[in-house]
């Protein structure tokens, strides 16, 4: 099969977030969570963005750069992205924790600008803060056209055509010139695992470490303030059965049959 005659240089912004099954505790300050005893992993929507980037590179040639802002521990997530096939990485060494989405996007945009990629990919939202804004803000800061909730990407020279998910089972194709930014929907394709060879190769790949100040980004006053974190109250009274599975199952079935009368 003849390879298309243009290359795609792609930056994928990835974030490291607390692992999904983490037991969260509110920090003493009440303004963030207790981070010391948490395990971290790649933000799952970003794993799909990385996958989309790797597939485009495999089809067209070019390179995939993984871009990640976070403290030292984010290095693990970066190594995993390199092991899956990213060619090199940029690590913005800053504790971004509860930074507002504009402050986070400013850091990422400054790093993207230096690389002048054809395409910037992000996940749709983060599993920690969940604002779902970072990609679109990066696009605006860099003057790039964008589209979000992307299910398919088809690249031509200097342009792309994407399939965007709308609500209630509707979709839409959108065309735009490159360079552009896309926020990718989870499930765009199956995620790959890192191979042993990939893990080995990752060790020799370049990770460029930068900081907010080396990117020329000064801290700005936040315009939204996380005043207080707390655990949500239960709105319903739940009858809970714990302990031995057999006993709990029998109790539940009895309730469903004689109290709720649904079976």
């Amino acid at each position: 099969m003849a390879r298309p005659t243009f290359l795609m240089n792609i930056i994928v912004a990835i974030k490291q977030v607390p692992a999904r099954d983490s037991q969260l505790h509110i920090a003493g300050s009440g303004q963030w969570i207790e981070e010391s005893d948490l395990a971290y992993e790649i933000n799952e929507p970003d794993a799909y963005a990385l996958e989309a980037g790797l597939q485009l590179k495999e089809k067209h040639g070019g390179e995939v750069i993984a871009l990640c802002a976070g403290p030292d521990r984010a290095g693990q997530t970066i190594r995993e992205a390199l092991a899956k096939g990213a060619d090199r990485a940029i690590h913005i060494e800053e504790d971004i924790g509860a930074l507002d989405p504009l402050a986070q996007a400013r850091l990422l945009a400054a790093a993207v600008k230096i690389e002048t990629p054809d395409l910037v990919l992000t996940g749709l939202q983060s599993d920690d803060l969940g604002y779902g804004q970072t990609g679109v803000i990066i696009a605006e800061l860099l003057g790039l056209p964008h589209a979000t909730i992307i299910m398919e990407v088809e690249a031509r020279e200097g342009a792309i055509r994407v399939k965007r998910e709308l609500e209630d089972g509707w979709f839409q194709h959108i065309e735009m010139p490159l360079p552009a930014l896309l926020a990718v929907q989870s499930g765009i394709s199956k995620l790959r695992y890192a191979t042993l060879m990939g893990i080995k190769k990752a060790k020799s790949k370049e990770v460029r470490r930068v900081s907010a100040s080396s990117l020329g980004i000064a801290p700005a006053a936040p315009s939204i303030v996380l005043q207080r974190l707390y655990l949500p109250e239960r709105t319903k009274r739940t009858q809970l059965f714990e302990g031995d599975a057999k006993k709990a199952a029998a109790q539940l079935v009895e309730k469903l049959k004689f109290e709720a009368r649904v079976i």
Partner: protein, 324 residues
Amino acid sequence: MSVLAILEQRAGAWNRASFETLAAAQQIAKELGTTASAAVLGQNIGALANELAATDLAVVYALEHDLLKDYTPDAYTAALKELLDRLKPSIVLFPHTYQVRDFLPKLATRLGRVAVSDVVSHRVESGQLVLVRQLFQGKVNVDVGLAGDAPHLASLQAGAYRGDRVAAGAAAVEVVAPSIQPGDVRTRPLEPFRESQRAVDLGAAELIVSVGRGIKEAGNIPLVEKLAHALGAELAASRPICDAGWLPMERQVGSSGQTVAPKMYMAIGISGAIQHLVGMKGARIVVAINKDANAPIFEVADYGIVGDLFQVVPALIEAIQNAK
């Protein structure tokens, strides 16, 4: 001080979340002791604007332009930036729709602001608006305070406010012609379409057994299938299961899948992220089986078992068979 609601329509039909935002704007304006107005964007939207003229608002702004016929983030951002620069409202509210997610961060950035997205409730404390949103997939709530200059922008989660509480009244309609140029619009949207007809109608199911990422791997799905069979229930799933291809997309319940309202919804290994909850909160009885007692799914469950699903589900199948 004033509150402005930005409402959403497509091809002349309202997105029903618009009325939730409208009701919220009226309520928040009242609590802040000010007035609410609303804006709608499109082409030939006179009928929609007239509908709003019968509600309790100060002014209805109808932003009419050929380039607003089909949504693009560039045209919407340009039109709304111009409107907000002129009106200088204090609070601007949007429904948290897919479309709003696509342009609100861009608009906020152009205004030098940060939008508070996906708000679930609010309160007014000594004249200041405090917005509540969720972090960590619904495991934690946070009170968000607004700092810096107005306008403050926020989008409201679907179902957070009641659309049937819009107060009737009379409002003046002002038609606005935004100065958007064709060169401003860089993306070209094509006609929206639907994929092939769904073969499974979960909306009509009386009993649903739904499986989430707690099932760990594709090879374990038959266990939950067996439970559904024992109950005579339809099998459904949360998004990650369908994303991974373990069950077809048409079995997905949630904001991007089907909305269901069965007699009983049994969630197996589903933590209950908000995107899932909006798809199943119409169920009469919710049963949750999860190893994490703090999983948000237990907040909406009537009955629950905290435990390992790989022990609980086989025990349930046996108990159901014995009960027959």
